[in-house]
């Protein structure tokens, strides 16, 4: 049954998807800054910086939307995650702070590129790792289990560390990192103006695609023991599985054939389908196996107001976003 709680949960999902495709790729750009190599190393870095500079702050706001809609619409879920996943969330936040500040200091500050470039790149690796770890921890049900133990005699490690410091969440962390790097490299093939740079990022995108496959296999393998519900759901959702696989094959084929715009669309579709595959597998749970969407939902009055506010906000937001993308992501004719 689809009601207001499901619609608001859908908004959280869409915002998370938008964040992964935009903000995620910006972090991926930082990963390629760290791995810039070869004779065009500096030009690779310049391209990455030019490509994300005008848009990363707007892209970052999707994460704020996820957080705000989550705590407004599903306060008990937000409260539970904030408590049990305090440590990985804090590390992720530090990554976010350092990435953003290092990026502007590098662009405008007195110390030049090198010093801040490294901070920017390292923070760009840490943040996706932790984001994936957090998602992995939610999917296993460990976060919910730990939350139930707080009042009891459980040790600090059992409640605040073990839910996320485990193989499956770590595998999802690397999976997220590989996906973001894959997205970024694919986007950069389109943004690059010279053929050699395109070629640099084409090779990087193909390498990242291989890493994505390895991480996916690893995560799925671990999922069978760690998160049976997700594994079952993901394997069971044959349709979405088939769609993900065909998007992945299209992305790799398009990269191979140097059809970069097509590759960009296919890569974005692939990553989105993976995300939705996880979320659909969890449905109707927000935090399995403790909180369903319905059980975590705020009172109907709040949800109604929130829906009205989100719809009104979208009317302003969507044309603004379109304007931004048109301004910065259509190639200048100069």
């Amino acid at each position: 049954m689809i009601g207001l709680p499901e619609i608001i949960a859908g908004v959280v999902a869409i915002a998370l998807n938008a964040y992964v495709l935009t903000g995620g790729a910006d972090f991926g750009g930082g990963v390629w800054d760290l791995f810039a190599s070869g004779e065009r190393r500096e030009r690779q870095r310049e391209l990455i910086a030019e490509s994300i500079a005008p848009i990363w702050e707007a892209n970052h706001v999707w994460l704020i939307v996820v957080v705000v809609v989550l705590f407004t619409g599903f306060p008990s879920a937000f409260s539970m995650l904030g408590t049990v996943l305090h440590i990985p969330l804090t590390i992720m936040l530090i990554g976010i702070v350092l990435r953003g500040s290092a990026f502007v200091f590098r662009s405008y500050g007195p110390y030049g590129r090198n010093r801040w470039g490294l901070a920017f790149a390292i923070a760009s690796v840490i943040t996706p790792l932790l984001l994936g770890t957090i998602i992995g921890s939610i999917a296993t049900g460990a976060a919910a289990d730990a939350s139930a133990k707080i009042a009891g005699a459980a040790s600090f490690g059992e409640v605040f560390v073990r839910p996320w410091a485990a193989p499956f969440p770590a595998a999802v962390g690397f999976f997220a990192l590989a996906l973001f790097a894959f997205l970024a490299a694919t986007y950069l093939t389109v943004d690059a103006e010279q053929a050699e740079l395109q070629e640099d990022f084409r090779i990087r995108a193909l390498a990242a695609a291989a890493a994505v496959l390895v991480c996916a296999a690893l995560a799925l393998g671990l999922a069978h023991s760690a998160a049976p519900r997700v594994a079952m759901g993901v394997v069971g959702g044959l349709l979405i599985q088939a769609a993900t696989a065909s998007a992945a094959i299209s992305a790799i084929a398009a990269l191979w054939l140097r059809r970069y715009r097509l590759a960009r669309i296919a890569a974005a579709a692939q990553v989105s389908l993976i995300l939705w595959g996880w979320m659909i597998a969890q449905y109707p749970y927000l935090i399995p196996p403790a909180l369903t969407i319905r059980a975590a939902a705020a009172p109907a009055g709040t949800l109604r107001l929130l829906a009205v506010g989100l719809a009104g906000g979208a009317v302003i937001l969507l044309p603004s976003l379109q304007y931004m993308w048109r301004t910065f992501k259509t190639k200048s004719r100069a």
Partner: protein, 436 residues
Amino acid sequence: MLISDLMAARAQMALSLGFHIIFAEIGIAMPLLMVLAEWRWRRTGDGVYLQLARRWAKGTAILFAVGAVSGTVLSFELGLLWPSFMQLAGPVIGIPFALEGFAFFTEAIFLGVYLYGWERVSSRAHTLAGLIVAVSGAASALFVVIVNAWMNTPTGVTVDGGRFTAIDPLVAMRNPSTIQQVVHMLLAAYASTGLAVAGIHAAVLLKQRGPQLSGRGADPSGPRASGAFHRHAMTVALTVGIPAALLQPISGDTSARAVARWQPVKLAAMESLVETQRGAPLRLVGFEIPRALSLLAFRDPDAEVRGLSAFPRDEWPPVTPVHVAFQVMVILGTLMALVCAWASVTMLRRRDIADHRGLLRALALLTPAGFIATEAGWVVTEVGRQPWIIGGIMRTADAVTPMPGLAVPMIVFTLIYVGLAAVVAISIAWLVRETT
């Protein structure tokens, strides 16, 4: 542990907010300054104004980015440090936060267009983008301060056994503190930033004037050329700073009366008034003005002002920090208003402020005054709200996360913020020096 988890959580939240509030103020006011400079350029064709807008844009890029990431930290910290508060209040304060989300989104999008679109959009579209940033920045502040106003004087909720049985977020948004706090915060942003920018450029002018007066600054391309830059900069900054600083005492008076009515124990702490009395005096750094507090708070020199002893001991906020911070805020706000009155009179008499060394000195001295006053005001509001996280409904101690060892993240964030503050200060100083 040296300090309790509750104190560590409060310290971390206070530090995060105290750090963010400065960048938020600059993020609200700087776009207005840039747009004004750009508009002056379009009107007069004087290229110095364009140069000014571009130079300010670089500083704003740094300050806005640090403001954005520190704001992100805050949105997470609400759940990391105060999960029970968010579980209870999320459905109430989430609505203004969601609206703030959209305002922030608009701000970030058009700031990107403003900073990187000089060559990509028409000059009219560029100015308009700046204007949208300025408006959405003010809107962001409006929605965030509404949340804080509700925490001070909550309305729109029916409480039963520590839970909300009925909530109306729209009523909550119109709580009795909303208007006063929002106006006070916005004026603070414009006054602090306007005067800080004016002060920086005044200091540069003073330095340049020095050698010139003694006959050594003969190079016409040096100080004089950049002199026009700093004169223009100071004028634009004062256009924003002066009206705000002159209006702020009126807003402060209205706020104090609202506090007197809705949060009497906070007023008692601000004034460090222990015993309830009629015709209460106003105490300001050792001076005592008879009956002034009664007059100011209730518009009646004989009105009764309730002292701390009229309230249960466990509902008192920490008195000394609130009292001291209140005095700091009032003194700095008064000084700022006086110097702005002086500057206005000078300008009305058609004298160039840049030739008035005394005024330049006063402005340069007041550079950090607005930000210090803001921090002090924030201490008055927030420490003065203790021991409650939601006034009269939920205690801060009952809202803190059960996670132990909170001193660790508190220390980590302290180090990060100290480091960031240092790098920001060095970067801005470097940007200023580049034009002198």
